[in-house]
Symmetry: C2
């Protein structure tokens, strides 16, 4: 197959690579119809995570089931599926409690930016669509594999409730999906922290009622001013740096929760704020499989559309240009078509 | 008045000091019937917090109202009151939301280990008892000023629910009150991490069903073994060090919450565990005023008794010996009688 291969920081190539195969009888192989580049793919690309040997990359994909293992019963060859980035067994105590990201057999999509990808525990993991969606819906459906449920997880974890005021820290694709999700959960006021005109535009389309271009102390002051000095009922932290985490805690009203969805890198909690104001922290890896039965029908019905985060679409062969565009913040999120 | 004065790390004296006075018309002055030493008093005593000048110390007290300001209406001279360590106005947006620890006029009891202490916003802050309690109940009632509602806050923040399994990290007075509170909230299994025989004994009296004397990796392994590899439904973190916080996150089952109630000092969250397992963090300073209407009647009825944490009672004049006993872990918590 043709696949995007990560060789070293700053160095991705599209080349021929061994096809994935059924390794366990519960596996499926999916022919990718659309994949994309995630903000977290930029970590190894930027050298934040080590790259020990060349490997396939990409964990978001939709496509058509090409083959299934002997024990796969529900998913059939020819099905059009959303492939959640995190695969789960559906049977362990954590899956049964809805904590699919804590599955004892947790595995990840490993070649979403390629022609084929392997899905473990396919019956529990794949979300099967009744029919192949119209190509015009591919971007919206692709968002279900990670970025939309991840933004939704930030909003759910933060406890966004009808009529509430939410602040979204971070204007990447996940943050923007956080805005969209906060609106879906009924937030009356959604304050998006963004200084980039294009991202501000998407945030507004997704439901942001206020835009704050400041950072650090100025951002905190601006949010407090917008909320009559009270702070936000819910805060979505979609960056993961020390500064963004501090900002998130400081704009939260006492008793509020910061919902976080990225792996913070060396980030400390601002303890004295957390302590006095009783600001909670909740989130982490999104339980995508848990959310899809709720989110997918809304997407397919056209009620929930995150496709605007894909502002650049390229053929798979041009994946390196896609990485460069995201790295240089020329694009929010790049969709790749094999 | 006679008062305990902190001069420098390791150096407290009981001596004559200026009486507190009504500074604002909403203040009250309480004649202390019983006060005590808190684990957090040991921070400046041990040099963890700077001591810039000699000052009174102690933030836990019960007593009789000696004087009230012109605007105090509900609290009357002669009332027997519990003095919550954190005072609040009862009118601001945060108080009205139950976040009394986030009050815009937040203040603390400043001379609980003395003959007299000042209470700000007395009407909202003081919990007035119908009658002076029997001296045999003083210790149980004194626990309402901080240690019991703080342990309760750890349990509430951790989301302890009927039938659940709770782990309590920390066998200080707060941790022990956490055990008692977890039982009150209906936990079926309460695993206390303690290696001290005397504290194990109190934990058992308070409702611990299992005792784990190990620390670090061994403690995590022991808890996972006790929970069939699943982890705890709720974790009470009552220490605040890096090791205790790591242990707390690692014994929590995916989706569980760590309830914390001390100000962590330089503590980092174990992010990768928090991320994958979606372990939440919630807590901080206890909203004592919010909890007292619920806890005080139970204490007065004898249904909730944390008095066993006071394992040493001394006259106020011997406060220095009380500090030494707690510093050397010869006593769990010292009650002082002026």
């Amino acid at each position: 197959m043709r696949a995007t291969i990560l060789y070293a920081p700053g160095h991705v190539r599209v080349e021929s690579w061994a096809d994935p195969s059924i390794e366990r009888p519960t596996d499926a192989i999916v022919r990718v119809v659309a994949g994309c580049v995630c903000g977290s793919d930029l970590w190894p690309y930027r050298g934040a995570n080590p790259v020990s040997e060349p490997r396939t990359i990409g964990h978001e994909a939709i496509g058509v089931v090409e083959a299934v293992g002997a024990e796969v019963e529900r998913v059939r060859t020819g099905n059009f599926v959303v492939v959640p980035f995190n695969h789960c067994c559906g049977r362990c105590v954590h899956c049964l409690a809805g904590q699919t990201q804590g599955c004892v057999e947790l595995a990840m999509t490993a070649s979403g930016q390629a022609e084929l990808t392997r899905v473990t525990n396919a019956d529990a993991t794949c979300f099967v669509l009744d029919a192949a969606p119209d190509p015009a819906q591919h971007a919206a459906v692709l968002a279900l594999s990670d970025v939309l449920p991840t933004g939704y997880h930030a909003a759910v974890s933060a406890g966004v409730a009808p009529g509430s005021t939410a602040v979204v820290v971070g204007d990447g694709a996940v943050g923007l999906c956080g805005v969209l999700s906060a609106r879906r959960l009924g937030a009356e006021r959604i304050i998006a922290l963004s200084r980039n005109p294009q991202r501000q535009r998407i945030a507004t389309i997704f439901g942001a009622t206020d835009l704050v271009p400041d950072r650090g102390d100025d951002a905190v002051e601006a949010v407090l001013e917008l909320t009559d000095g009270v702070g936000a009922d819910a805060v979505l932290e979609c960056v993961g740096t020390g500064e963004s985490m501090r900002t998130a805690f400081r704009v939260a009203r006492p008793g509020a929760t910061v919902g976080f969805v990225g792996v913070p890198h060396g980030t400390e909690i601002p303890w004295s704020t957390a302590f006095r104001n009783n600001i909670g922290l909740r989130g982490g890896m999104a339980p995508v499989v848990r959310y899809l039965p709720e989110l997918a029908p809304a997407v397919l019905a056209g009620e929930l559309d995150a496709s605007a985060v894909f502002d650049l679409e390229l053929p798979l062969e041009q994946a390196p240009q896609g990485y460069a565009a995201m790295d240089e913040r020329r694009a929010v999120k790049v969709l790749l078509r094999p």
